[in-house]
């Protein structure tokens, strides 16, 4: 009910809705309430026109009538004569019973409604999954874990074993090549530049031999000489000869 109809009786003062609720819980003795007073209070409310004006919708009127009717039914039920009063006894009993059942039912739904409200306020919601399309594979790409491991193993098998590579690298040691050139220059005072590379096993080896030669020249252990522009370069024993 949108409109609050307040009533004043000897046993109760307040909204008429509350009166109905209390009467249903038997917390107000309806036999002490004159229902005619309630009607007067309602009419008074209409005449005063609280705030929004005196005009009441049919809906609000109906709402009041329903509450009033319920109060009337309750009151009638409570005023019913005892069980030994003549022949309509059974009808009256069943009517009284019906009213009580109806009222009790309504009261239970009011309780249930309070429980729903309480639960809602507690916020114990249940949430569905909001799934992203990606979680569900949209492409039937059957990637097999075993196959993937196999593919990787195949790649590894194709590569030369790391151990072999290391052996190759140690074979071309700069100090070893320097020692080799020193040994040559101990035997002969000079040697041809190109002859130094006769033993080169490959490009990398040649580079290391050249680096070894540069190192010896820098240290003064070797010198070089070129007699004519296009002639062979001669490598000579240097002054700072390292022994051993």
């Amino acid at each position: 009910m949108n409109v609050e109809v307040r009533v004043q009786t000897d046993v109760f003062e307040g909204p008429i809705d509350l009166l109905l609720t209390l009467a249903q819980r038997q917390q107000v003795d309806l036999s002490q309430v004159r229902l005619g007073d309630l009607a007067w209070d309602y009419l008074a409310t209409i005449r005063e026109g609280t705030g929004s004006g005196p005009v009441r919708s049919a809906e609000e009127l109906a709402a009041f009538l329903v509450v009033a009717t319920r109060l009337l039914a309750l009151k009638a039920a409570s005023l019913l004569p005892g069980p030994n009063d003549g022949e309509t006894e059974e009808d009256l009993e069943s009517w009284e019973e019906q009213v009580r059942v109806r009222m009790a039912e309504y009261a239970r739904f009011k309780e249930a409604a309070l429980e729903l409200m309480r639960r809602h306020a507690e916020g114990g919601f249940a949430f569905p999954s909001a799934i992203e399309a990606e979680i569900v594979p949209s492409e039937r790409l059957a990637i097999d874990a075993g196959g993937l491991a196999g593919a990787f193993q195949a790649v590894l098998d194709r590569l030369p074993a790391p151990a072999e590579v290391e052996v190759e690298l140690t074979r071309y040691s700069l100090t070893e090549e320097m020692d080799a050139i020193r040994a040559r220059l101990r035997v002969a005072e000079s040697t041809s530049f190109t002859a130094l590379f006769d033993a080169a096993a490959g490009r990398l080896h040649a580079v290391v031999i050249f680096l070894a030669l540069l190192e010896l020249i820098r240290a003064g252990e070797a010198r070089f000489r070129q007699r004519d522009v296009f002639g062979d370069i001669e490598i000579l024993r240097g002054v700072a000869v390292a022994d051993g």
Partner: protein
């Protein structure tokens, strides 16, 4: 299908419900799993049991099935996702909702009778919020519309089924 693997079916149902993220008709779920609808009931029962002690549960209502989070985890979910949740309702709306929940399917006249007032507007509000929906028509003069609660209603209260609501009033004698 001599030997039915209920455990596998339970897992499949779980995966399907998770992926779907929406209610599905039990009939359609049974089709998806290629099983009899009666067997599905057992599969869903088992799924529900297997989720005891988990943060998830299975909701069932009116031939629909859906997976959802449990209410005790609601705070954490809201903190992260801040999903839209239904706002508070008026006392009249809770009352109407309670009547529909416990007496569904019920006609508008049936609701009016219990509440003693016309529920037109309140009912409309509940329909708009998706907490209540039409559930066919009564086979009676005028074939009035029947109403029942929705999956969203179950989500609002965080229960698996309407039967899990507390203090269900006895069925009306009429």
């Amino acid at each position: 299908m001599a030997d039915i693997d209920v455990t596998l079916l339970r897992r499949q149902a779980e995966a399907v419900l998770f992926s779907l993220g929406a209610p599905i008709e039990a009939r359609r779920l049974a089709e998806t799993l290629d099983i009899d609808p009666r067997l599905l009931e057992r599969v869903i029962d088992e799924l529900s049991e297997s989720l005891a002690g988990h943060g998830l549960m299975v909701q069932r209502h009116d031939g629909l099935v859906q997976m959802a989070t449990r209410p005790e985890a609601a705070d954490a979910v809201r903190r992260l996702l801040n999903p839209e949740v239904p706002g508070r309702l008026s006392p009249a709306a809770y009352e109407t909702l309670a009547i529909i929940a416990y007496r569904q399917p019920i006609t508008k006249a049936g609701i009016d009778e219990v509440r003693g007032v016309d529920c037109e507007r309140v009912l409309e509000g509940l329909l708009n919020r998706g907490l209540v929906e039409e559930r066919g028509r009564l086979d009676a003069p005028g074939t009035p519309r029947l109403f029942g609660t929705t999956m969203r209603f179950l989500q609002l209260l965080g229960v698996e089924r309407v039967d899990d609501l507390p203090g269900v009033p006895d069925p009306a004698p009429g």
